[in-house]
């Protein structure tokens, strides 16, 4: 690894260095470098299928990179054994796109799950923490005994957030936290992300294609582009900077994405024959 990249990673809580991910013959990520300092909120944006979620999962070791490495708190996570990786995973919380609540458990059991796995609290203490966390995300005690299938999408997302926060993580990862929600509930989730950051001073990485969320909660935005439509020497990262600079980007692909304009993409699809002219 070059000295520049090491310096780039040094001040960060989490850093991906030359990350490439390939599934079979399909390459999804190519030599991505990113470094997130403590306390920062980074939004990774980009169209569907550009590898945002894969990048997020690679950062926490759920997907193994085909080359490159991930450093968390200056340690290479690929070198960790099972026990060390488990200890590391207690330090971050992951909010999944579909909330990923366990169907077979009640809401209370879902939120208590990380506590039961990693802490030795009494049942009464666990119950108290569960109620506290659910109240923080604006959910009533009455849902504790319900199953995830009985809740709305917005409520499930908030339960997922409560579960991710239950061990007081240092790093929060959100995978499309507002996708599929109505505008009001999307803003509720945005406010909860901001409140979580203020209250726990966590470092956050969120993957989204909701520009309102990216502008509202992020200090920094990174835009990825699908590798299939990039040349061999072109970077997959189109933009990396503060949200205020997005509109001023000289890259037309960035401004079109931010404004939600399909012009170039439509032309591409016509030339590829995906769309009748």
């Amino acid at each position: 690894m070059s000295e520049d990249l090491q310096t780039y990673a040094n001040g960060a809580l989490i850093a991906g260095i030359n990350l490439s991910v390939q599934f079979g013959s399909q390459q999804v990520l190519r030599e991505i470098n990113l470094s997130v300092p403590r306390g920062q909120t980074l939004a990774i944006i980009g169209e569907s299928g550009c590898g945002k979620t894969v990048l997020l999962k690679t950062l926490i070791g759920l997907v193994r990179p085909s080359s490159g490495r991930v450093e968390f708190d200056h340690g290479d996570i690929s070198q960790l054994n099972e026990r060390a990786l488990t200890a590391l995973r207690v330090r971050y919380g992951f909010v999944f796109q579909s909330a990923a609540l366990f169907d077979s458990m009640t809401i209370g059991q879902n939120v208590a799950f990380p506590l039961r796995q990693h802490r030795s609290f009494s049942p009464a203490e666990i119950e108290e923490i569960v109620h506290e966390r659910l109240a923080e995300v604006g959910l009533p005690d009455s849902i504790v005994e319900k199953k995830p299938a009985e809740l709305s999408g917005g409520m499930r997302k908030r339960v997922g957030l409560a579960r991710a926060l239950v061990l007081d993580p240092e790093l929060m990862l959100y995978d499309e936290p507002t996708t599929g929600l109505d505008p009001i509930m999307s803003d509720v989730i945005n406010e909860l992300i901001l409140r979580t950051r203020r209250r726990y001073t966590v470092t956050s990485i969120l993957v989204t294609h909701d520009m309102r969320t990216a502008r509202k909660v992020a200090d920094r935005v990174m835009m990825l582009y699908p590798l299939a439509r990039r040349g061999r020497d072109e970077s997959q990262v189109l933009f990396d900077g503060p949200p205020s600079q997005l509109e001023r980007s000289e890259d037309r692909l960035v401004t079109q994405f931010v404004r939600g304009e399909a012009r170039d993409r439509l032309m591409e699809m016509r030339s590829e024959g995906d769309l009748a002219s």
Partner: protein, 290 residues
């Protein structure tokens, strides 16, 4: 000898270099993918074995699986055993009557049950009722990112999801096999004695002469191997489920088909191996009666 074909016709029949290249590439891909699949299954099985001994599973994961595999499978296994016992009586009687060997029915029915049909049918019922359900449940968990969620919260999915299912199958399939054997014996006895009117003394006497504890042990040893195969195959299919409802359905179907093929293969291999053990221990064919 001349084939009568002109040189141009021979050229047409021979594969072109490009076609040959594609053919080799296709077969190469099939071989590589098959080896990858077998290797992946072996690694999955090994990890399950390691996690079984490394860390004790949690009580809340053990009890629901034991209930699902044992208690809920009991009625269907008992029913299957009863009918198989009776069907064996019907079929064997039809053939043995012409030879005047009706009183040997007990030996034939009970030997077939404890060595083969009891363990194989209990395992088949388990693969259909429990294995498919495991694959579908774990497949849905994979598709809805619940397995990723487990891992992200520092819980190993193999330890949390696979080990309890393996232990449930391993410990309860012998019990289900005993139940299938018992109900089969009862069903066969009932049909032979009560309906066909065979003398019950001779029925039992001949059974005791031929069916020994070794035969019973063969069935139980087979059932243990079947239990391990069903659990690992079903969980492996669930863990490798492809997205969507079709993927979950395919995982459930594949888990049953692969488990069933494995049950038959293991049945043959264990049968041969245990017979070799038997003949090496008792070359004269001595049996220890129950």
């Amino acid at each position: 000898m001349s084939t009568g074909a002109s040189p141009s016709e021979i050229d047409r029949r021979l594969p072109t270099p490009a076609a040959l290249h594609d053919w080799v590439a296709d077969w190469g891909r099939v071989v590589v993918e098959s080896m990858e699949a077998v290797g992946d299954f072996a690694i999955f099985g090994w990890q399950t074995l390691v996690w079984t001994f490394v860390k004790k599973p949690q009580r809340e994961t053990i009890l629901p699986n034991f209930y699902q595999v044992g208690v809920l499978s009991l009625p269907v296994v008992a029913l299957t055993g009863t009918f198989i016992g009776m069907v064996l009586a019907v079929q064997s009687h039809f053939q043995f009557r012409s030879l005047g060997l009706e009183t040997q029915l007990g030996a034939v029915i009970n030997m077939s049950l404890v060595r083969e049909l009891g363990p194989v049918l209990a395992a088949t019922m388990l693969a259909g009722r429990v294995g498919s359900s495991m694959a579908a449940e774990l497949g849905t968990m994979r598709v809805t990112e619940q397995i990723d969620a487990l891992e992200s919260m520092g819980a190993n999915p193999i330890h949390y999801l696979v080990v309890p299912r393996l232990l449930a199958c391993l410990f309860l399939i012998p019990a289900l096999t005993i139940m299938a054997d018992f109900m089969g014996v009862v069903g066969g006895y009932f049909y032979s004695v009560a309906i066909l009117g065979i003398d019950k003394h001779h029925y039992w006497y001949n059974s005791e002469q031929f069916v020994g504890s070794f035969d019973f042990s063969v069935g139980i040893i087979k059932s243990l191997a079947f239990g391990v195969a069903i659990a690992i195959v079903s969980c492996h299919r669930g863990f490798h489920c492809t997205p969507g409802a079709e993927g979950v359905g395919r995982a459930a179907t594949a888990s049953f088909v692969y488990s069933f093929v494995l049950i038959l293969g293991l049945d043959l291999m264990i049968g041969i191996a245990l017979d070799m053990v038997y003949y090496s221990l008792w070359p004269g064919g001595v049996r220890i009666s129950i």
